[in-house]
């Protein structure tokens, strides 16, 4: 296993407020790491730091070997951050959404087909507009776009939100399948019992620090 995320004493601020106060965390390739903690603990901020969106004020950090302090923008194209929104174009079909993402990274059509197969998107569903999909189907489409984009680390903020029980089961199965295909997943979730069943390791964030 190789290390894909390595943060040491990372401090980050949002405006004038401390978002992370000395976080130490290491994630190995192929892990499913659950970040848990109360609201405002800094879970989302940690995901944004790992995505290269939030700069670090102090400490050191590397994601996929790229230094967060000096080259964080280079990280963005290699990780996928999925929040409450799915990042889909609602007037495009599932297939058109995936083809668009594929064209931004010059991915072959076979990669789109593979992503659809991994996320169990069949030909009929591929032709449906995103606006007509259920919450679970939209989430599958969004995860498929991460595969098409070749995101090596999936940073998921409350991935179970808005899904029914069947949709959550399906999402967990898809995430396990994606990890088996080489992805690494770091997720923040309030669904403690469910996420504990999914995660290979748990990291508690409290007051902006990891324990």
């Amino acid at each position: 296993m190789d290390t894909v995320i390595e943060l040491s004493g990372v401090v980050a601020v949002l405006g004038q407020f401390p978002a992370l106060a000395g976080v130490d965390i290491t994630v190995q390739r192929g892990e499913i790491v659950l970040l848990q903690g109360p609201n405002g603990a800094g879970k989302t901020s940690l995901l944004r730091v790992c995505a290269g969106l939030l700069p670090i004020e102090r400490g050191t950090g590397q994601v996929l070997g790229i230094d967060l302090a000096t080259n964080r923008e280079a990280i963005r194209s290699r990780v996928g951050l999925l929040g409450h929104a799915n990042g889909l174009y609602l007037d495009l079909t599932v297939m058109q959404n995936l083809q668009f993402w594929a064209s931004t990274v010059a991915a072959a059509s076979s990669e789109v087909s593979d992503a659809m197969a991994t996320m169990r998107i069949d030909g009929r569903l591929a032709e449906v507009k995103a606006s007509q999909l259920s919450a679970g189907q939209r989430r599958r489409c969004a995860l498929a776009s991460l595969i098409v984009r070749r995101a090596e680390i999936w940073l998921l903020d409350e991935p179970h939100a808005g899904l029914d029980a069947a949709g959550r089961d399906e999402l967990d199965a898809l995430l396990r399948s994606a990890v088996a295909s080489g992805a690494t997943v770091v997720l923040a979730s309030h669904e403690r019992d469910r996420a504990l069943g999914l995660a290979t390791r748990t990291v508690t964030i409290d007051g902006g620090g990891a324990a």
Binding site: G83, A85, T104, A130
Partner: protein, 232 residues
């Protein structure tokens, strides 16, 4: 060509194709914006109710109707980006924002050009405008150059307003003053093309030069400034 340039061009083409596919799927331009623009032209005709005056002011009416319609098209262009956080997803994914600007601006220009052709045709039919061949050519050049300027500034300000609270009212406040030079230049050039008020075709070319300067300026500024503005 370097890899970075090829990469940006590929992204710009993908974004333009995506925006035009969204329009093709939803038909908002055809079913809502074009009828709105046509209604504006008809209402102007009712309000002025004088063939002589209509012929004189037809170029200004064409461009005013274009600007009003553009507000709807620009709002729509960024509503589809924000509805499910798609523009954020592109930004988070590190997709080149300058290339996104170019792609969205090109898609907007294509839609505006179609709309302007329809409005000029409406003016010809409704207001009795007559054009010589030279005037027709000048009108086409005016449409092309003015559309590049409008598309660029519309995309820039649309992106700026997209993340703001009250963006529906903010966009017209920001955009309309910024496109005033296009309104003036395009109206004067179109007057020359239409021969309104005794204007000759040759009088229009300096105004087209002004439109060209505006188009180049805002295309360059937009490509550089779009990313930082959207990030803010």
């Amino acid at each position: 060509m370097t890899g970075a340039v090829i990469n940006k061009r590929r992204i710009a083409i993908a974004v333009a194709r995506k925006d035009l596919t969204i329009e093709w799927n939803s038909r908002i331009l055809v079913n809502q914006v074009a009828p709105f623009a046509a209604i504006v032209m008809v209402l102007f005709a009712f309000a002025l109710d004088n063939d002589g005056i209509l012929l004189r002011v037809a170029p200004g009416l064409v461009w005013l109707a274009t600007l009003f319609s553009m507000l709807v098209v620009v709002q729509r262009s960024f509503t589809v980006e924000s509805a499910d956080g798609a523009l954020d997803a592109l930004r988070v994914a590190g997709v080149d924002m300058g290339a996104i600007f170019v792609g969205k601006a090109v898609a907007l220009m294509v839609q505006l050009f179609v709309l302007e052709l329809m409005l000029v045709a409406t003016a010809v039919v409704l207001y009795g405008v007559e054009m010589t061949l030279a005037g027709f050519c000048e009108a086409i050049v005016t449409l092309v150059v003015a559309t590049i300027g409008l598309g660029s500034v519309g995309t820039l300000y649309g992106g700026l307003a997209a993340g703001a609270r009250g963006r529906e009212t903010l966009l017209p406040l920001l955009l309309l003053p910024a496109v005033a030079p296009v309104l003036i230049g395009a109206t004067r050039a179109t007057e020359a093309a239409f021969g309104s008020g005794g204007a000759t075709v040759s009088e229009g070319w300096p105004w087209i030069g002004l439109l060209l300067v505006f188009a180049v300026l805002f295309s360059a500024v937009g490509t550089v400034a779009f990313g930082p503005l959207v990030d803010e």
